[in-house]
């Protein structure tokens, strides 16, 4: 179990380093960087590489935003395999919904509960 946590730490850390290089060297905005990483996750799943990556790295692969791309593509491909091309539209959000739903729900709850403070970090 400790080993899985260490692997998650190292792999997750490395994915974030890639993101940091996109920020500082490529000078991309956070929105550009995250969009790029999501697409990368999607393409890797197209090649069948992301699921083995999850098997190896656990949370190191499911927590970075790349896993959104993987989930969306995985859901789409599963349905397309079963029902043909229309599966692309029906399958996409089946597998990813927890992240997006949670963000929306907690966004609304957060808006009820909190007020922004302009403190320097």
């Amino acid at each position: 179990m400790i080993f899985s946590v260490i692997i998650a730490f190292v792999v997750g850390g490395l994915v974030c380093v890639i993101g940091q290089l996109l920020f500082d060297v490529a000078k991309l905005t956070p929105a550009h960087t995250l969009s790029l990483l999501v697409v990368v996750g999607s393409v890797l799943d197209g090649f069948g590489l992301y699921e083995p990556f999850i098997d190896f790295a656990g949370a190191g692969a499911t927590i970075p935003i790349t896993s959104f791309g993987n989930s969306l593509t995985h859901g789409a491909m599963q349905e397309a395999e079963k029902h043909g091309i229309i599966g692309v539209l029906t399958g996409m959000f089946e597998v990813t919904s927890s992240g997006i739903s949670a963000a929306i729900i907690f966004g609304v709850i957060g808006a009820f509960l909190f007020k922004a403070k302009g403190k320097v970090s």
């Binding site: 922004a116 403070k117 302009g118 403190k119 320097v120």
Partner: protein, 333 residues
């Protein structure tokens, strides 16, 4: 071509009073002894940042009036601006103040552009007392130009912190014992194709350089206690020094350049390259600098407020950042 950019105000309009109010974070500024009001609440008792911004402007203006022993009907014109869309905080404050009003937009250079315009009105002798100045509120400006306050974006070392502060003054006909406006130079828009909105200092330094060069050329022989730019920040200040040094313009002044933004928060590295915002130059020029002129610590200072004339949309559309700098020369006899 007539060189009308630089003007000497022969009537020597005097700044009879000023008032500066700031938010809680600004308490740590080395300039804080000269801030009239330091609020604990960054929203100044209002529910939204924008309403708080308007409240800040209104209260600071009323304080300037009180310090001059004047009432609202004594004011002939209110000239002011801020950084928010359509300058609504200033518009709403003007509604409360009920004076005749003209909004002024020069981004962070509004503190000086409003003073220059006020000087022209007084020089024409049509008006007697004009309320001028500028303000900014950190949260309202950040939301507009950058990200939501609680968003965890990482600012680079060239980033600056928008000041929550307001600086206003009352300009009137010359009286002795008060600092007066001797001359001014109006800026031109200068664009050196800087595209990074997280590095305003680099974008604004050429505009400051252009205005300073112009003003010094028209005022040869004047020796200033210092030249103080508005909010180039530590990075922009370094670049301006380099521009001045390599151009050979009045090199004797090199040691006497200051920047309000670079000095505003002291040495605290959390504020990265320093302060910015319309309230930065306004609170420093009309707070400590005015007080020091009044106390005869300085005799002649050149204040060059700088502004970046971009919008979040222009950045998204891939435009560069055009900038401007307005200069005003204050004397004390």
């Amino acid at each position: 071509m007539k060189n009308a950019r630089t003007i000497q105000f022969v009537s020597k309009p005097s700044i009879v009073s000023t008032a500066v109010a700031v938010g809680p974070l600004e308490k740590q500024s080395p300039f804080h002894p000269h801030f009239d009001l330091i609020y604990e609440d960054e929203r100044f008792g209002q529910e939204t940042n924008e309403k708080g911004h308007a409240q800040l402007i209104e209260e600071t203006c009323r304080l300037a009036l009180m310090k001059a022993g004047l009432q609202i009907p004594d004011i002939d014109l209110f000239l002011a601006g801020d950084l928010v869309n359509q300058m609504t905080p200033t518009n709403f404050a003007a509604r409360q103040l009920t004076t005749p009003f003209m909004g002024m937009f020069s981004a962070c250079a509004t503190s000086v552009s409003s003073l220059i315009t006020a000087s022209f009105f007084l020089e024409s002798n049509h008006m007697d007392r004009i309320l001028f100045g500028a303000a900014s509120q950190h949260n309202a400006v950040e939301r507009q130009f950058r990200y939501p306050i609680e968003y965890g974006a990482q600012k680079p070392p060239t980033g600056q912190w928008t000041v929550t502060g307001a600086g206003f003054g009352i300009l009137s006909h010359h009286i002795s014992g008060k600092p007066f406006v001797h001359s001014a130079t109006i800026g031109k828009v200068i664009d050196c194709e800087c595209i990074d909105p997280l590095d305003m200092g680099s974008a604004m330094a050429p505009a400051a350089f252009d205005t300073i060069q112009q003003h010094l050329a028209q005022n040869k022989g004047t020796s200033y206690d210092f030249v103080m730019t508005g909010d180039l920040g530590k990075n922009g200040y370094t670049i301006l020094q380099e521009l001045i040094q390599s151009s050979g313009v009045s090199s004797y002044l090199i040691d006497n350049y200051r920047d309000a933004g670079a000095e505003f928060y002291g040495k605290d590295k959390k504020f990265l390259s320093g302060a910015s915002g319309a309230g930065c130059s306004a609170s420093v020029y009309f707070g400590p600098i005015y007080a020091e002129l009044l106390a005869k610590q300085w005799k002649k200072v050149l204040l060059v407020a700088t502004g970046a004339l971009l919008s979040p949309l222009s950045f998204q559309q891939g435009e560069s950042i055009p900038c401007i700098a307005h200069a005003v020369e204050l004397w004390m006899e």
